[in-house]
């Protein structure tokens, strides 16, 4: 797994993704480079999740091109993803981690499992059936599963959308720490505050198109598009 070529930078050129007659992403041109977290910001249905699935190579573009570090999508990837509603295997928390390690071709010894669980603060719950964990705990476990792949790029799809503030804080702390360890974060959210707290770059989407792209403080203080301004002001952007 170590010698898989780098996924970065990810370049999308005029990518369109259609589902039947509906276009979910239209004519998207985007570059995601290594460095600070990239936050995909936008209302529900704007195409953020679809972009993440493209990055994870779970789907392919209907039109346009996507390359990973200069290669097309065929080769292996070390990316990992935390879905909005992660699915826990019907086993203990530790067994979930072990499964992810094995799938990534890494040894699943107790030490490695414990280390990953500690990184997300779940070491004490190692033997709890994963399905009996709280929402926040499950999200953290999903994070640990993703980290088990020692990813180059970590995708997060609305990771704290259904969590209370305390759980949100603990998840955000882990994300921030992961970013500082050099892992590229690509995170989708519709929460302005979260975007402001975590982002390096903002990619603002609406209706399947990229409306604006900017570095974080700049986007919030002086957005250049009308749609961005209205979104920041709290209006519904269709």
């Amino acid at each position: 797994m170590r010698d898989t070529p780098s996924d970065l930078p990810i370049k999308l050129e005029a990518v369109t993704v259609r589902a039947g007659a509906v276009s979910i992403l239209r004519d998207v041109t985007l570059e995601i480079a290594s460095g600070a977290p990239t936050v995909l910001l936008g209302p529900n249905g704007s195409g953020k999740s679809t972009l993440i699935r493209l990055g994870m190579r779970l789907i392919s573009p209907s039109a346009g091109r996507i390359t990973f570090g200069g290669h097309s999508a065929a080769s292996g990837t070390r990316s990992a993803v935390v879905f909005q509603k992660p699915v826990m295997l019907r086993r203990t928390a530790a067994a979930n981690i072990a499964f992810a390690l094995l799938a990534a071709g890494r040894p699943s010894d107790a030490g490695t499992v414990f280390h990953l669980l500690s990184q997300v603060g779940l070491a004490a719950l190692a033997d709890r059936p994963a399905r009996r964990l709280s929402g926040g705990e499950q999200q953290r476990l999903a994070l640990a599963r993703a980290l088990a792949r020692t990813p180059e790029v970590l995708y997060l799809d609305e990771p704290t959308a259904s969590l209370d503030p305390a759980a949100t804080k603990s998840v955000e702390d882990i994300i921030a720490r992961t970013a500082s360890e050099g892992i590229k974060i690509v995170m989708a959210t519709h929460d302005l505050g979260q975007a402001r707290r975590l982002a390096g770059d903002i990619v603002f989407l609406a209706g399947g198109r990229i409306v604006e792209q900017a570095a974080s403080p700049h986007f919030f203080t002086s957005p250049s598009t009308d749609a961005a301004r209205r979104f920041l002001a709290g209006d519904l952007v269709l």
């Binding site: 994870m56 779970l58 292996g76 990837t77 990992a80 993803v81 879905f83 992660p86 699915v87 295997l89 019907r90 086993r91 203990t92 499964f99 992810a100 094995l102 799938a103 990534a104 033997d127 709890r128 059936p129 599963r145 792949r149």
Partner: protein, 229 residues
């Protein structure tokens, strides 16, 4: 003899009855085990692999859940009879033939229900497994393990079906005294001899046997839920 006499006779630990009970359990448990070995992978395969004729296989498996035991018995009889293609094996009128017939009877049940369970579970796990790049073999193993409680219930359904049937075992086993006589065939025999009270008593014994097996499976499940291995 009235019903109480019959139950008393049974519980006095008649050695002949004990042998019959032991054979019934052995035949049906063996058939359930074989049906698991054949049916679980078959069901998982039908759930996960897209191949031409898959839809037909699913329809056939579902339909065969309702195979009449007496028809299965007849088919196995024709196969194992000395005059039949597998006659050389000399298996007709032996417990092995009974296991074969019951296995054929319940494998479709195990396979069809496993297919449904695994298909539903796969729909739930698909994206995560794709994202984690789980290989096909690991995928099957993970799904079967995660579905274990449902699968145990499926096997118990198969066990119940086999334990209850008489049509197949009587044709291929011959209901030979001391050799291929099981609970259901004994009940049929005692009924035809007019020993109705005894037949009812034996029926109650059979039901409590099946209950015991189910209770055991339930406690294994409760135990492992607590220890969630």
């Amino acid at each position: 003899m009235n019903a109480t006499d019959a139950v008393q006779l049974i519980w006095s630990g008649d050695a002949n009855l004990f042998a019959i009970v032991r054979l019934s359990l052995a035949v049906t448990l063996a058939a359930t085990f074989l049906a698991a070995v054949l049916g679980l992978p078959l069901g998982a395969f039908a759930a996960l692999v897209r191949f031409p004729g898959r839809e037909l296989l699913v329809v056939v498996l579902n339909a065969f859940m309702g195979l009449p035991p007496v028809v299965v018995g007849l088919v196995v009889f024709l196969l194992l009879s000395r005059a039949g293609p597998l006659g050389e094996l000399g298996l007709l009128f032996t417990p092995t033939a009974m296991v074969v017939a019951q296995t054929m009877l319940i494998t479709p049940i195990v396979a069809a229900l496993t297919r449904q369970v695994i298909e539903d579970l796969w729909a739930e796990y698909r994206e995560e497994f794709q994202a984690m790049q789980v290989g096909p073999l690991a995928r099957v193993g993970a799904l079967l393990w995660d579905a274990r409680f449902s699968l145990v219930t499926i096997l118990l359904a198969g066990f119940g079906r086999a334990a209850a049937e008489v049509g197949a075992v009587i044709i291929v086993g011959g209901n030979i005294d001391g050799f291929t006589r099981v609970m259901t065939t004994t009940i049929a025999l005692e009924t035809s001899k007019g020993n109705l009270a005894l037949a009812v008593g034996l029926g109650l014994v059979l039901i409590s046997l099946v209950m015991t097996v189910n209770a055991l499976a339930w406690s294994v499940r409760r135990w492992s839920e607590k220890h969630a291995a």
